[in-house]
C-alpha cells in the first residue's frame, strides 16, 4: 500500500511533465493519469482501512531532512475526495477548453496542482507542508490567471500576494517551532510540545497564515473575486479543494499537534470568526447578482461552519461524543467539496450555453438545461444541509455538539446560516423555473453535464446515505 502513496505524488507529477512534452495528446494523458490517481487513492483508503495508518520514508532518509509520507483515516478520505473531484473536473475540462493552446497551458498546471494537493495531504512534517503549501499556492494562482481577462489577472495577482503573505507567516511560525523544539515532525512535535510563549506565538503565526489562505472571515476579501473570475473547472477546485487544504492544516495543528497548547478561548475566537463567515458570506451570496459570485460567497460561508466546530471540539471531553463531532466536521467538509465543485461546473455550463451567469436572467434554464438545473438543485440541497446530503449529518453533529456543551449561540448561527443558504439557492431555482415559452425538450444529459451531476449526487445522496464508515475511518490516526 505504500506504492499507492508514492503513486499519488509521482503519477500527477509525471503526468504534468508528460502533458508539457506532448501538448497535442495532453487531454488523453491527463485523463489517463487522473484515472490512475483515483485508483491509487481508492487503494490507499482501502489500505488504511484494513492495515491502519501508513508511513513511508522516501529513499530511506528519516524525518528531519528526508521526505516522509504518511496517511491516516483523515488524509486518506481527503485524498479520495480530491481524486474524485479532480477527475470529474478533468473530464469536464476536456470538453470546456476548445483550442490546443488553451489545453497545452491548462493541463501541466492542473496536474501540478493535483501533485501539490496530494503531497500536502501525505506530508507529516512542517517543512514539507510549507513546500507543498507554496507549490499549491503558485499552481493555483497560475491556473486562476489563465482566464486571461483583466479581472481574472487582477484577482489572481491579489490571490498570489495574499498567499505569499500567508506563507511567510507560516514559515516564521515553523522557524519558531524548530528553535523551540528542535524538530519539525508532526508526530514528534505532538509529544514534545507544551503550552508556553514559543508554542503560542508559533501557533498564532501559523494559524494566521493559514486562515489567510483558507479565507476565514474577515480575511476572506480576496476569495470572491479570485474564485468568481477563474474558468469553471479552476473555480471548482479552488473552492472545493485548495482552500480546504489550508483548512486541513489548521485542523491538524489545532487538534493533533498543538492539542495541549490550544485554549478554549482561542477556539472561541475561531468560532466567532466562523460565525461571522457564515452570516456575512451567506448574506452576500443572497445579494450576489452573478451565479459565480454567489457560489464564491457561499464558499466563504461554508468554511465558516467548519470553524464553528472548534469551540465544540475543545469543550467536549475526549470520547465518543467528541469523535462524533469530529466526524461531523469532516463529513461537512467532504460534502462541501463535492457540492461546491458541482455547483461551479454547472454554472460553467450555463455560462457557456447562455453566454452569461446573471441570476435575474436565468428564466427558463430549467427547461433548456434540465440536467444542469437538477445538479444545481442537488448541490443546493447539500449546501443548505438538508437530508439526505452528507451535510445534514454534519450539521446534525454540529447542532448536537452545541446542545451538549450548552453553546447555544453556534446553534443559532447554524440555523440562520442554513435558512440564508436556502434563500440564496431558492432564489436561483426560482429564476431557473421561471416562465418562458420554451419548447418541450426531453430530458437529455450532455457529456459535460455528467461530472456536475455525479458530483452533486455524491454530495447529496451517497455521502448522506452511505457515509457512516467515515466515522470509523477517522479513528485510524497516525
Amino acid at each position: 500500500m505504500t506504492d499507492a502513496m508514492i503513486g499519488l505524488v509521482a503519477l500527477p507529477l509525471a503526468g504534468a511533465l508528460a502533458t508539457l512534452l506532448l501538448p497535442r495528446s495532453a487531454t488523453a494523458v491527463a485523463i489517463g493519469t487522473g484515472l490512475a490517481i483515483t485508483v491509487a487513492a481508492g487503494l490507499l483508503l482501502f489500505g488504511v482501512a484494513t492495515q491502519g495508518a501508513l508511513h513511508y520514508e522516501i529513499g530511506g532518509w528519516s524525518a528531519g531532512l528526508g521526505i516522509a509520507l504518511r496517511a491516516d483515516g483523515l488524509s486518506a478520505l481527503l485524498l479520495l475526495m480530491t481524486a474524485l473531484v479532480m477527475l470529474a473536473a478533468s473530464v469536464y475540462a476536456s470538453a470546456y477548453f476548445s483550442t490546443v493552446s488553451e489545453r497545452a497551458r491548462f493541463w501541466p498546471l492542473w496536474l501540478l496542482l493535483w501533485t501539490s494537493l496530494n503531497a500536502l495531504l501525505l506530508s507529516g512534517d512542517l517543512f514539507n507542508l510549507y513546500v507543498t503549501l507554496e507549490l499549491l499556492g503558485l499552481s493555483a494562482v497560475a491556473l486562476a490567471s489563465l482566464g486571461g481577462k483583466r479581472a481574472a489577472v487582477a484577482a489572481a495577482l491579489r490571490y498570489l500576494l495574499v498567499g505569499l503573505l500567508g506563507s511567510m507567516m507560516f514559515l516564521a511560525g515553523v522557524g519558531l517551532i524548530y528553535a523551540g523544539y528542535g524538530t519539525l515532525d508532526l508526530a514528534q512535535l505532538a509529544l514534545a510540545i507544551g503550552a508556553g510563549p514559543v508554542a503560542w506565538t508559533a501557533l498564532a503565526l501559523m494559524t494566521a497564515g493559514l486562515l489567510l489562505k483558507t479565507a476565514l472571515f474577515p480575511l476572506h476579501f480576496w476569495l470572491p473575486p479570485a474564485h468568481a473570475s477563474a474558468s469553471a473547472p479552476v473555480s471548482a477546485v479552488l473552492s472545493a479543494l485548495v482552500v480546504k487544504a489550508a483548512f486541513y492544516l489548521v485542523l491538524r495543528l489545532w487538534l493533533d499537534v498543538f492539542a495541549n497548547v490550544v485554549t478554549p478561548a482561542a477556539a472561541d475566537l475561531l468560532g466567532v470568526l466562523g460565525a461571522g463567515a457564515v452570516l456575512w458570506g451567506s448574506w452576500r451570496a443572497l445579494q450576489a447578482e452573478r451565479l459565480k459570485l454567489l457560489a464564491a460567497w457561499s464558499t466563504v460561508a461554508q468554511l465558516g461552519y467548519l470553524f464553528l466546530f472548534f469551540p465544540l471540539l475543545l469543550a467536549l471531553p475526549p470520547g465518543p461524543a467528541r469523535e462524533l463531532a469530529a466526524g461531523g466536521l469532516v463529513m461537512l467538509a467532504l460534502t462541501h467539496g463535492f457540492a461546491k465543485a458541482s455547483l461551479f461546473l454547472a454554472i460553467g455550463i450555463i455560462q457557456q450555453r447562455c453566454g452569461h451567469d446573471t441570476i435575474r436572467e436565468l428564466d427558463g434554464t430549467a427547461q433548456r438545461l434540465p440536467a444542469t438545473t437538477f445538479a444545481i438543485a442537488l448541490a443546493g440541497v447539500a449546501l443548505i444541509g438538508l437530508p439526505p446530503s452528507g451535510a445534514f449529518l454534519g450539521k446534525w453533529q454540529l447542532l448536537a455538539g452545541a446542545v451538549a456543551t450548552g453553546q447555544w449561540v453556534w446553534l443559532v448561527v447554524t440555523a440562520i446560516g442554513s435558512l440564508l443558504a436556502a434563500a440564496y439557492i431558492v432564489r436561483v431555482l426560482g429564476h431557473a423555473f421561471g416562465h418562458r415559452p420554451y419548447p418541450n425538450l426531453p430530458v437529455s444529459v450532455a457529456r459535460e453535464e455528467w461530472p456536475a451531476l455525479l458530483l452533486a449526487a455524491m454530495a447529496a445522496l451517497v455521502l448522506g446515505l452511505a457515509g457512516a464508515p467515515v466515522w470509523g475511518l477517522l479513528e485510524i490516526g497516525t
Binding site: 497560475a142 495577482l157 500576494l161 505569499l164 522557524g175
Partner: protein, 95 residues
C-alpha cells in the same frame, strides 16, 4: 544578554514587521511585491539566527534548508507576480 544570535533574530523581527507594514499599507502593486520580499528576507534572517549553534559548531542544516527553499519559492513567486503585473499593465494600456 545581546548575543549575535539574538541580534540577528531581533533584526529579522524588525524587518518582518517593516515588510508586513509595507505589504498591508502600500497601494502600489510594485511596492507591495517588494514589501513582501522584504518580509521574506526578515523571516530568512530569523531562521539563520535559529540555525546558529554556538561558536565553532557547524550550524544546524534544517533551518538552512528551509531558507534555501524559501528563497527559491520567493524568487519564483516574485517572478509570477511580476509577470501578472506586466500583463495587467499591458491590458490596462489596451483599454
Amino acid at each position: 544578554m545581546l548575543t549575535t544570535q539574538v541580534l540577528y533574530a531581533l533584526a529579522g523581527c524588525v524587518i518582518v514587521a517593516l515588510g508586513l507594514r509595507g505589504a498591508l499599507l502600500h497601494a502600489s502593486l510594485l511596492q507591495r511585491i517588494v514589501a513582501i520580499n522584504v518580509m521574506g528576507a526578515g523571516v530568512f534572517l530569523l531562521l539563520i539566527a535559529v540555525a546558529y549553534r554556538g561558536p565553532g559548531l557547524a550550524p544546524d542544516p534544517v533551518p538552512h534548508a528551509l531558507v534555501l527553499t524559501g528563497i527559491v519559492v520567493a524568487v519564483s513567486a516574485t517572478a509570477l507576480a511580476l509577470a501578472l503585473a506586466r500583463r495587467l499593465h499591458a491590458e490596462q494600456g489596451d483599454d
